[in-house]
């Protein structure tokens, strides 16, 4: 599903962001990506969606070699990856339903699909009945659920969550992870970048640790620290 082979990324002035990365994530896996700030986690995600180009090495996402991907095909790669951000990135002048419809319009879904998907993803994240609320009328946890619902609406095979619970209290964070596990159980590959030690330790899933741009640990079932 996701395969990095000998990937290096250098920024200007020879700043090394990633060095000789070899990672393979299979379809349906649930993976934590951990590491201190500046360890290369964000660069890893940016390379996956081709927001940045690798300096060398090959990257395959959902059977597509993205090194060879043309500029005009990038949107279609991104449709295969649902993104959940730490700061939710919602449209605050639109209702919950409209935020999800927005994503479905982008992928040019049909009217019938839009109606069905909005109902279905809101049910999945536990926001049924909140369709007509504006994000600001809801709690932080609920806002992150909107963001999750939006990422799921287009039925991507991969979900990337970048610090999804960074702004949430522990109880709400637990609920978000429960939802992520539910989604994973349905076959979606999930990659979570997080600093939430307790959750990583508690779930006992695969953990990939980065430090100074290198993979320092890849445990099939691990904790936040070794």
């Amino acid at each position: 599903m996701i395969e990095f082979s000998n990937v290096n990324k250098k920024y200007d002035h020879d700043v090394v962001a990633l060095e000789d990365i070899n990672i393979k994530i299979e379809k349906g896996e649930f993976v934590f990506l951990v590491g201190p700030s500046g360890s290369g986690k964000s660069t890893f995600l940016k390379l996956m969606v081709k927001e940045e180009e690798a300096t060398s090495g090959s990257i395959i996402v959902n059977n597509t070699n993205i090194n060879k991907l043309k500029q005009k095909d990038i949107p279609y790669l991104r449709r295969k990856i649902g993104f959940v951000f730490q700061d939710f990135r919602l449209l605050y002048d639109r209702t919950v339903a409209e935020n999800i419809i927005f994503a479905l319009r982008v992928v040019e879904a049909t009217e019938k699909d839009i109606k069905y998907q909005v109902k279905s993803v809101l049910e999945l994240v536990g926001l049924s009945g909140k369709e007509n609320f504006y994000p600001n009328q809801l709690s932080g946890g609920e806002q992150q659920r909107i963001s999750l619902a939006r990422a799921l609406a287009t039925k991507p095979p991969i979900i990337i969550a970048d610090e999804p619970t960074g702004n949430l209290d522990p109880k709400t964070a637990d609920e978000i992870f429960k939802t992520l596990l539910d989604i994973n159980a349905r076959g979606t590959t999930i990659l979570v970048v997080t600093h939430a030690k307790d959750i990583v330790d508690g779930l006992n899933k695969r953990v990939i640790a980065l430090d100074h741009g290198k993979v320092v640990r890849d445990d099939a079932r691990g904790g936040y620290v070794k």
Binding site: E51, F83, T154
Partner: protein, 296 residues
């Protein structure tokens, strides 16, 4: 709702969201269009009158006093077969004298005593289809036997052509400046719209929106602005021209020479040019602004 209807709605919503900026932009675009419109109308009138002058212009070929009637008929036939000659009219010595009298109207005493002599030669007034053939026709007429002199009003014709050319070049220049200014103004307004939608654009890119999907609402916003400005300017200029035209003296028009054109002959040109310019500045202006947000 199809994707395109949705994008049109988004464009229209953007327009409303930036109401006051949209209004002031359209005000400036309207002002420039109206100035341009005035020049288009003036130029159309100049061109029409230039055409009239061109058609009315001809030259006079004088005949020797000794020419017999047969010779005059021969000259007439010879001129008529020259290519490009539209009309030929014979003016005999009597008519030439009468013409001279009208020229000296009020001072007829100057011509007293000349009645019997009839000093003005008979001539042909030759008119042609196309002003540009004038000099070729002149050379051929000069070669016809029995013609003593060809008086050809080159100065008038050249002046007319020069005026028409200058006016056309001026309008082209003004139109270009107006296009650049208006495109720049619309582009600036759209830049603000793009900026205030930065968040949407960022999210759209992550969700997998194609460039054309992101671009369309802004292009539509620009196009609506340009089109509305064109229609408003058209209404204002139409009312203006009709009101002014009603107050203009119609002497020239009735004589078939100089005069202003009725609006029925002009409106579709003004509307056509305005709509084209409006759409052009709207679409190009917004395309310029959105470009840099589409990278990556």
């Amino acid at each position: 709702m199809t994707t395109n209807t949705y994008l049109i709605k988004e464009g229209y919503d953007n327009l409303k969201k930036h109401g006051s900026k949209t209004f002031s932009t359209m005000l400036i675009i309207c002002a420039t269009m109206i100035v341009l419109g005035i020049f288009i109308i003036l130029l159309q009138n100049v061109n029409k009158n230039v055409e009239t002058v061109k058609k009315e212009q001809g030259f006079q070929a004088f005949i020797s006093d000794a020419a017999t009637e047969t010779e005059i008929d021969y000259i007439k036939d010879s001129i008529q077969i020259i290519q490009g000659v539209k009309d030929i009219k014979y003016i005999d010595k009597d008519m030439a004298f009468e013409d001279a009298k009208s020229v000296f109207s009020g001072q007829e005493y100057l011509l007293e005593g000349l009645q019997k002599v009839k000093p003005f030669p008979a001539s042909f007034v030759i008119k042609f289809n196309d002003i540009n053939d004038a000099s070729v026709i002149k050379t051929q007429v000069e070669k016809v036997e029995g013609i003593t002199k060809v008086k050809y009003n080159e100065a008038t014709i050249e002046a007319v052509i020069t005026i028409s050319n200058i006016a056309n070049i001026f309008l082209l220049g003004l139109g270009t400046v107006m296009l650049i200014v208006s495109t720049f103004i619309i582009s600036n307004t759209i830049k603000l719209a793009v900026y205030s939608n930065k968040r949407e654009i960022y999210i759209m890119r992550y969700i997998g929106a194609t460039n054309s999907f992101i671009r369309k609402p802004f292009i539509i916003e620009g196009a609506i602005m340009g089109l509305l400005s064109a229609l408003i300017s058209f209404v204002i200029i139409s009312i203006g021209y009709v009101v002014i035209y009603a107050r203009l003296p119609k002497v020239g028009t009735s004589l078939g020479i100089f005069g202003f054109m009725p609006y029925s002959q002009l409106w579709y040109q003004v509307l056509g040019i305005f709509v084209l310019i409006g759409l052009f500045v709207g679409i190009v202006g917004s395309a310029i602004s959105i470009r840099k947000y589409l990278k990556v």
